[in-house]
Amino acid sequence: MTQARKSFQRRRVLGIFAFHGSASVLSLLFLTPFLVAFLGSFRAGQEASSPPIPPWPTNGFSLDAYRALDTFGAGIWQHTINSLIVSLSTALITVVISLLAGYGFSRHRFPMKNVLFVLLMATLMIPFQSILTPLFIMLAKLKLNNSLFGLTLVYVTLQLPFSVFMMRNAFDAVPKEIEEAARVDGVRDLKLLTRVLLPLVMPGVATVAIFAFLNAWNEFLAALIFLSSNDEYTLPVLMTAVRVGRLGSINWGAVQAGVVVMIIPCVIVFLLLQRYYMRGLTAGAVK
């Protein structure tokens, strides 16, 4: 009896070790690239172009890599601001438009409602990579090529099917009685939407905003094709210039610094709003 219990106990301890052992090793594998880039980016001058072993600065902490990064394009601030303008306005416009559409699809009756909703969702089946060429020509015709606003409109459009779906579900989950009560009190339409319903669908808004922000911040191919002048480049496009280098040599310190600048907002947004992010992920997955 005690023999059996002992062996059971031993198996349990072994199980705990095996679990935490393998999980820690995996965690290390997933975290190492981040840590190496982050620590490595603070190495001074020449040190930044030698292998990051060890990754932390051995000749003292320095911002040389970030200064080097600043010499590319129109300066790192300008490009960070470009990226922020595009990502924040994509998030804002997506939220407003999908809020209205989600409300319309959830609470109103109009002809062809289901057809229009299916049409909206059907665009999810079509890869946007296949419409780059006509978009490029259309934006040129609308004088929106090489403009952050044109790029934002494209990003908002790509974000809409998922976002309208999320918002419609969010409104569907709000009890009808709340609306009825507000109507009785004489609150209607836009006022009803912004004053009464908006606070109730806030979690959905958070999810939509996070995905719009992150997708716009990280998008590369459309930005590469639609932006042609240096000053308008978003961060990922700027970084291709850094990656190509000057006179045949690449400033690896600037690459590390650029990667850190691009990654940090994503990590912060995710860690702060993880709950809403995961909700969007599983909603998309279960759809």
Binding site: P51, V96, I97, G104, M262
Partner: protein
């Protein structure tokens, strides 16, 4: 679904203006969805139709397009480079999907357990998912660099290789480096999808088979896998469609090399449309990709369909 909103309560005094009210209600609804519909029609639906139209033309960047019927398509079917792009994309998709699943499934089973620190591990595994593919590619370009990077010097110092190997110089090494990067970046995402499937398996069922004496492997094979059919299909389709559209990693990490052997199908479209400015031919290639993806979406519906059986 929304029928209840108007039919729920009938107010006697309202019935007199009913048709009028209904029209007003419809107008309001259309007003709310108008911005979304207009954007999607202008910047998505119209471009799709426009792509099809363009694909029937010789369409230079400057100057007038000329109608050439299906000649872009006949050209495509005899285009050596189109086939090699297609072949490479298929090869990449097959390999990367298998490797992603090989990591993501054990990871999902790891973080499904109810043990201490599981949320922390899950966050760590997932962290690369939230950064952009372009950022990840750039980061790994540096890490894989032979002179200033991390991997080759590390392997050398650990004595695993004699001298430093250039991970991006030959096709096979560069290919597996990119696979490693993509797995690092994506495995956490697939893990979460699989996790939702694992968590939907009723605990009593697992307990019952355990009491019946089913071995760990038997439980996995005859309980877990069949119950996860839908989740697996979804994760599979997401991985396959994502991989077919791969571009960033090849553009940033190897510029399509070595020997231009890493030109994926989207990369080839970009080259034809925006480097050689054969916009009409690029559109025809786009239609090909669109058809492939549509077929996959239909396959997804077929895989995810309810078979009428209920477990």
């Amino acid at each position: 679904m929304t029928a209840t909103s108007t039919s729920g309560k009938t107010r006697p005094q309202a019935s007199a203006h009913r048709p009028n009210r209904r029209r007003k209600e419809a107008l309001k609804g259309l007003f709310f969805i108008a911005p979304a519909m207009i954007l999607v029609l202008v910047f998505f639906v119209f471009p799709v139709l426009f792509t099809a139209w363009m694909s029937l033309h010789k369409w230079p960047l400057l100057g007038a397009p000329t109608w050439i019927g299906l000649r872009n398509y006949t050209r495509m079917f005899s285009d050596e480079r189109f086939y090699s792009a297609l072949g490479f994309t298929a090869y990449y998709t097959a390999i990367v999907t298998v490797v992603i699943f090989a990591f993501a499934f054990p990871m999902a089973m790891l973080v499904e357990q109810k043990r201490r620190a599981v949320p922390i591990y899950r966050t760590f595994f997932f962290l690369p998912v939230v950064v952009g593919l372009a950022s990840a590619s750039l980061l790994w370009t540096w890490l894989s660099n032979v002179d200033s990077g991390f991997f080759s010097p590390l392997l050398e110092q650990l004595g695993l290789t004699s001298g430093r190997i250039n991970l991006l110089a030959t096709f096979d090494l560069a290919f597996w480096t990119i696979i490693a990067m993509v797995v690092w970046k994506i495995a956490g995402f697939t893990m979460i999808i699989l996790l939702t499937g694992l968590q939907s398996i009723p605990a009593e069922l697992v307990e019952a088979t355990r009491i019946d004496g089913a071995k760990r492997w038997q439980r996995f094979r005859y309980l877990t896998l069949p119950l996860m059919r839908k989740t697996l299909a979804l994760a599979l389709v997401l991985s396959v469609t994502g991989s077919i559209l791969a571009f960033d990693q090849f553009y940033i990490m190897t510029s399509g090399g070595p020997q231009n052997r890493m030109i994926s199908i989207v990369y080839y479209i970009v080259n034809q449309s925006f480097v050689s400015f054969n916009l009409g031919y690029g559109a025809a290639l786009s239609i090909a990709v669109l058809v492939i993806l549509l077929v996959l979406s239909l396959a997804q519906f077929w895989l995810l369909r309810d078979k009428g059986e209920r477990a």
